[in-house]
């Protein structure tokens, strides 16, 4: 049972602000992902939770008790670092044993727990090796085993997959998801990879320049992005964002226009629509554009069009045969359109 509460948590170095005052509640056994590009404050936030970084102002609470003054070694958290932070002079077994050794766990119990942790991440055969004799994926497993060998209150993972090759990243992602479920611990996971965030998280915290941009379940963040920033970050390829203006019930972008615009809207707007939410249709549709490029992904095909100076991407069936400059008609279904204020870049809520 561990909940984490961040109350007005802020980090500054002199005049440089790493994290603006933020509030965040992490529920017990929740898998929370901090998502954002480098420099958005996600790692700093995690390091403050770990105690590796002091908060400038604000409070960190574990189960309602303030832990700001608790040293990292006494916070009872486990952490997996991006470059694993293994101890190069110790064998795999000694690496995994270290948290137990430091805590004076009896030798017999130590052996049992090491064996169990190693088995969980399939390291059994490598226990006597040194970290330098391991591949990247194996090192990653050692780091995981060292984290799960005891039962900490909170699990922290800082970009644990970003040093792995693409294929391995996929398997390890699945492993981590299963592990988190199996262990039933509160997990905070930092990544810049939106796919990792979508696949792993119970809730995603999208961060930008030290502030929280949106907090929500993967579905919420995907279906109702709070701003153009979130919309452009989530999804592969991300949402198309078309800048334009609403005049007389129609959305104008360059020489193109789309009808069926909600009547509450007016002035400068951004129309967002996901590549997978558009349809190719016969007839005129909402837009009729010449094909700029067609890229086969295997399971589907990405069609690109030039629209008002930027690219519009559409996910189409893989057998779509349109060639360069062929005219293609697109439907932009009303309930898949997202509207954002061009000034504030915030979502315009049309539900009321």
């Amino acid at each position: 049972m561990t909940t984490i509460s961040l109350r007005g948590l802020e980090k500054r170095w002199g005049h440089v602000v790493g994290v603006h005052p933020m509030d965040l509640e992490v529920a017990d056994r929740e898998f929370l992902v901090l998502l954002g590009p480098s420099g958005c404050g996600k790692t700093t936030t995690m390091r403050m939770i770990a105690g590796l970084e002091d908060a400038t102002t604000g409070d960190i609470l574990f189960d309602g008790a303030r832990v700001n003054a608790v040293r990292p070694q006494d916070r009872d958290v486990a952490m997996v670092f991006q470059n694993y932070g293994l101890y190069p002079h110790l064998s795999v077994e000694e690496n995994i044993a270290y948290p137990l050794k430091v805590r004076n766990v009896p030798l017999a119990e130590r052996a049992a727990r090491i064996a169990r942790a190693a088995e969980r991440v399939e390291l059994g055969a490598l226990l006597q090796r040194k970290p330098r004799e391991l591949s990247g994926g194996q090192r990653q497993r050692v780091a995981l085993a060292r984290a799960i060998v005891r039962t900490p209150k909170v699990f922290l993972m800082d970009e644990p997959l970003s040093n792995l090759d693409a294929k391995l990243r996929l398997t390890m992602r699945t492993e981590i998801k299963h592990l988190a479920h199996e262990l039933g611990v509160t997990m905070v996971y930092v990544t810049h990879d939106q796919v990792e965030a979508m696949t792993l998280a119970h809730r995603i915290v999208v961060m930008r320049e030290g502030r929280i941009e949106q907090i929500g379940t993967p579905e919420e963040v995907y279906n109702r992005p709070a701003s153009t920033y979130v919309a452009g970050f989530i999804g592969a390829p991300p949402m198309n964002l078309i800048e334009g203006e609403v005049r007389g019930g129609r959305f104008h972008a360059g020489e193109f226009q789309v009808g069926g615009v909600p009547e509450q809207l007016s002035g400068a707007c951004v129309l967002g629509i996901r590549p997978e939410d558009m349809q190719l249709v016969d007839g005129t549709g909402d837009l009729r554009l010449p094909l700029y490029a067609s890229e086969l992904l295997g399971d589907s095909r990405l069609l690109s069009f030039k629209l008002a100076g930027s690219l519009l991407t559409v996910r189409a069936p893989k057998d779509q045969r349109a060639g360069f400059d062929d005219m293609v008609s697109l439907a932009l279904p009303q309930d898949h359109r997202h509207w954002f204020d061009a000034q504030t870049t915030q979502r315009i809520d049309l539900s009321h």
């Binding site: 590796l52 990292p72 070694q73 958290v77 670092f81 932070g85 101890y87 430091v102």
Partner: protein, 274 residues
């Protein structure tokens, strides 16, 4: 081997190389050879002579008593290193991992203490030690040598600690270790080749230190380099004995280097492969 035809430039380069090698090796070879010569062969510069180990026996006997000086040197150098490396490591760790006002200035000041010529500070040391009753004592010599060796130790070790990824240490702290424990169990082992290099360097510096030992010792704490002067007698310079003593000074360092060569080389290349 490349069998390139040596042009004039190649010939000149080879010539310079051989000159350098000769300049470095010749004195050592001369000392080594002299140490096993009879006194009458010393000035002969002959390469053919009957070798003898008598000189080595003589230097360890009365009145030379090289054994005492050897012991003194070993004690002084060992204690100096035994203090310098842990203290230097902690100071270097502080410089490497913490930021505090005046850090850079302080770091330069530490090494700046060595910009002052020894000949200038040796007299104040003498006066100070006379008051403190530290003249001709191990403690006094160790103190003086520490003042020489520690700045270098701090500078060298900081470089090696800088090269230890901070994540390793943070991992240890997250795993539950205190900062000191992380330093002892994680940082120090990871920086060990560097620490050994620094220790060897400090040992050499102390082992060969001459001026302070000359002025600040009289009899009890005489070290090997100072002992060499005693072969400069009214009867003239006893070159063969001086050479034997010289070999006794050089040999331990040579053996020590051989033993730790592996670590030396490790530390020189460790940055390249990460």
């Amino acid at each position: 081997m490349t069998s390139r035809r040596a042009g004039p430039a190649g010939f000149a380069a080879a010539l310079i190389a051989w000159c350098v090698i000769f300049a470095v090796v010749f004195p050592i070879a001369w000392i080594a050879l002299t140490s096993i010569k009879e006194p009458r062969d010393v000035y002969a510069l002959a390469l053919v002579f009957t070798p003898t180990l008598d000189n080595f026996r003589t230097v360890f006997e009365h009145p030379w008593n090289l054994g005492d000086k050897l012991l003194n040197s070993i004690v002084v150098a060992s204690v100096t290193v035994a203090v310098a490396i842990p203290v230097g490591t902690m100071a270097a760790y502080g410089f490497s991992r913490f930021s505090f006002p005046g850090k850079r200035l302080l770091f330069v000041l530490i090494i700046a203490t060595q910009f002052v010529p020894a000949a200038i500070v040796v007299l104040p040391y003498y006066l100070m030690f006379r008051e403190l009753d530290l003249l001709d004592s191990y403690a006094g010599l160790v103190l003086v040598n520490l003042s020489i060796v520690l700045p270098y130790a701090v500078w060298m070790i900081k470089g090696f600690i800088d090269a230890v990824p901070i994540e390793m240490e943070e991992s240890a702290v997250i795993d539950g270790a205190s900062r000191l424990r992380a330093l002892r169990e994680i940082v120090v082992p990871a920086a060990l080749p560097g620490l050994i290099t620094a220790a060897l360097f400090c040992f050499t510096l102390t082992w060969n230190e001459f001026l302070f030992a000359l002025i600040l010792t009289k009899q009890k704490a005489l070290t090997l380099p100072v002992g060499l002067i005693s072969f400069h007698t009214e009867r003239g310079d006893l070159w063969e004995l001086m050479a034997a003593a010289g070999v006794m000074i050089t040999l331990p360092m040579f053996l020590l280097s051989l033993v730790f060569q592996k670590h030396f080389i490790n530390s020189l290349t460790s940055g390249a492969v990460r």
